[in-house]
């Protein structure tokens, strides 16, 4: 899987690159509009991350270029500007997703994975982890081919873990993913904990080979 990051902030570019390389992605980077444009013309990518505000040009123009060249890449816009207009325009131009800064790395991974998955129309879209099979479209989970009934939030929770295996996931990232901006930060730890406890129990009861560990002070890690 090849990913191109077009981002002018060196710090952010590096940290995203490192994080993606940990997931065995092949990562290329570009630091401005011109270098981004060059890279686009030379290679094909599975996913392209584009910052809107770039030196020497606008990320949305790069997006137009990608669509003009009929590239199959999934495109995710990352922007410091959480402006509705930019978001709407980006999505209208054919971007697969829009992520506003700052974000958690686990959230970025989740977005990249689902963007790539949605982009590959062919093939099966099931996500498999050990004896757990999860269908994001059907929103079903089966363990050893036996269906496990989860409610919407439990499913989201499990999906977020499975799409971020072996990664340290911040509890705030989990809370934001599953419950939106609706939780209270003060209670995040206890709140997320009590929800995960329920999920763990259900998974354990159906003999899922999954281990969700609490990492004290930060969040969780699934392995």
């Amino acid at each position: 899987m090849k990913v191109l990051i077009i981002e002018d902030e060196a710090g952010l570019r590096e940290v995203i690159q490192q994080s993606l390389e940990k997931e065995k992605y092949i990562v290329e980077t570009a630091h401005d509009y011109i270098s981004g444009f060059d890279k686009l013309g030379t290679y094909d990518y599975d996913c392209i991350l584009i910052d809107i505000m770039l030196p020497h040009g606008n990320g949305l123009d790069l997006l137009r270029e990608i669509k003009k060249q009929k590239k199959q890449s999934a495109v995710i816009i990352i922007s410091a500007k959480d402006a509705v207009d930019d978001k709407v325009e980006g999505l209208n131009l054919g971007a697969d997703d829009y992520l506003s800064k700052p974000f958690h790395l686990s959230e970025l991974h989740a977005r990249i994975k689902s963007a790539i998955r949605r982009n590959n129309h062919n093939g099966d879209n099931l996500i498999v982890w050990k004896n757990i099979t999860l269908s994001p479209e059907q929103r079903t989970v089966s363990i050893d081919d036996k269906e496990l009934i989860l409610n919407r939030k439990e499913f989201d929770l499990l999906y977020y873990f499975i799409i971020n295996p072996n990664r340290l996931i911040n509890k705030t990232a989990i809370a934001e993913y599953v419950w939106g901006d609706h939780t209270d930060q003060a209670d995040n730890l206890d709140f997320v904990y009590s929800q995960i406890k329920n999920l763990r129990k259900k998974l354990k009861d159906s003999n899922a080979e999954i281990d969700i560990q609490a990492v004290y002070g930060i969040g969780y890690k699934m392995s």
Partner: protein, 423 residues
């Protein structure tokens, strides 16, 4: 009190004082002049009669006060003063059937034989009481007419003159900083108003510039903070993942991440706040607040269960209002979140939806909040680290965009009541 009525009130009172004084002076003058005239007439008559007496002795025996209006009475010989005596007296008049005032001239003269005679000449004069009554009536009529005239002039003329002033007032009333509202032009024949209008416009433009640059600054600052925040959070995440750290070290990293997350929230709220104030949520649609409330309560049900708080929606009516959907969600969810957070286990949150208002009440602390301060930015009653202090200010700036009002009430429970403008 309006300017027109205000001036009219003072004019009416002043006239009420001035007119009687003027009337008194006028009356005295007129009366004086009338008496003077009559006295002259009486003196003239006296000269004529006396001249007559010398040529025609007959009139010395004229009957007492016939149609002649004079009488001559012989006096015993003696030394008399020949001075004229003038006085006012009264006499019964058959025609009027009452006593009428008369002016009397009394004098003594000697005929050519040196016999003294008393001559009394009478003339009827104005009836003072009648005159006074007439004058009084006329004055009342004059007063009323003056007041009516002033009222009419005030109403017509002043209204015309002050029209531009009222336009200026309306302009000022409608000024909403940050909306780029334009002033209606005034074209007054009065210089002062033109100057005033110009000054108001200059002031508005100056304020508008300051205001928008301030807002722009907050928005830009918030934007610029996003990337460094992203770098810090992501670097820490990667660091915690890669390094082999002790539990204590992980705890510390967790705390730093939490702080950065808090900063992110704060920044996002600030950004949203300045966007609302910059009117960057122009799209509006019809929002069914009954539906919205039940969706949001559903969203928050996990948190509510976790906090052991029971949420109830009481729908007395259906509330529709046209506004931005994102802002409607932010409005209700901020209030709902507050109601859940500042609550206690086994507490409650009640939504009451009426035709044009929603009340969200919750159990919580036993003392009321300071309704003067709770809508201020960064006001926090408790020094909790987790609150951004921007929740209610967000609510306030959202409602300010739609002329919705909010009030805080406390009676055993805390209630926020949102009143939507009636259609």
């Amino acid at each position: 009190m309006k300017l027109q009525n205000y001036t009219l009130r003072y004019l009416a009172i002043t006239l009420l004082l001035v007119i009687p004084i003027w009337a008194g002076v006028f009356y005295a003058h007129i009366l004086d002049e009338v008496h003077d005239n009559i006295d002259d007439d009486l003196k003239n008559s006296k000269i004529m009669i006396m001249r007559h007496v010398f040529t025609d002795k007959k009139i010395l025996n004229s009957p007492e006060f016939g149609i002649n209006k004079f009488t001559i009475k012989p006096l015993p010989k003696g030394n008399y003063s020949h001075k004229d005596k003038l006085y006012t007296s009264s006499e019964f008049m058959e025609y009027d059937n009452e006593d009428e005032p008369i002016r009397v001239l009394k004098t003594i003269f000697n005929d050519d034989n040196g016999n003294p005679y008393e001559l009394i000449i009478k003339a009827s004069i104005v009836e003072e009481d009648d005159l006074l009554a007439d004058l009084f009536l006329s004055l009342i009529v004059l007063y009323i007419m003056l007041v009516i005239t002033i009222l009419a002039v005030n109403h017509l003329l002043l209204k015309k003159i002050w029209k531009s002033f009222h336009t200026i007032l309306e302009n000022i009333k409608e000024i909403k900083l940050g909306t780029g509202s334009k002033l209606k032009p005034i074209n007054s024949p009065i210089d002062e108003f033109n100057v005033l209008a110009n000054e108001v416009e200059t002031m508005l433009n100056r304020n508008e510039t300051i205001y928008s640059s301030q807002k722009q600054f907050i928005e830009n600052a918030s934007h610029e903070l996003q990337t460094p925040l992203a770098i810090s959070i992501n670097k820490l995440e990667l660091f915690a993942e890669n390094a082999t750290l002790s539990e204590e070290q992980m705890m510390e990293i967790g705390k730093i991440t939490d702080t950065l997350n808090r900063l992110t929230r704060l920044n996002k709220s600030l950004l949203m706040l300045s966007k609302i104030e910059n009117q960057q949520y122009p799209e509006e649609e019809d929002i069914n607040f009954n539906k919205l409330s039940s969706i949001l309560t559903e969203d928050y049900s996990d948190l509510a269960d976790f906090k052991k708080v029971k949420i109830t929606i009481i729908e007395n009516d259906t509330l529709h209002f046209s506004m931005n959907k994102g802002l409607a969600i932010a409005l209700i969810s901020n209030l709902l979140k507050n109601a859940l957070i500042h609550n206690h286990p086994q507490g409650f949150v009640n939504f009451t939806i009426n035709k044009s208002d929603i009340s969200i009440s919750n159990s919580g602390s036993n003392s009321p909040l300071n309704s003067e301060l709770i809508f201020n930015r960064f006001y926090r009653r408790t020094t909790t680290n987790e609150s951004t202090g921007l929740g209610l200010p967000l609510v306030k700036s959202i409602i300010a965009n739609y002329s919705i009002t909010i009030e805080y009430l406390f009676n055993e429970k805390h209630t926020f009541k949102i009143n939507f403008p009636k259609k």
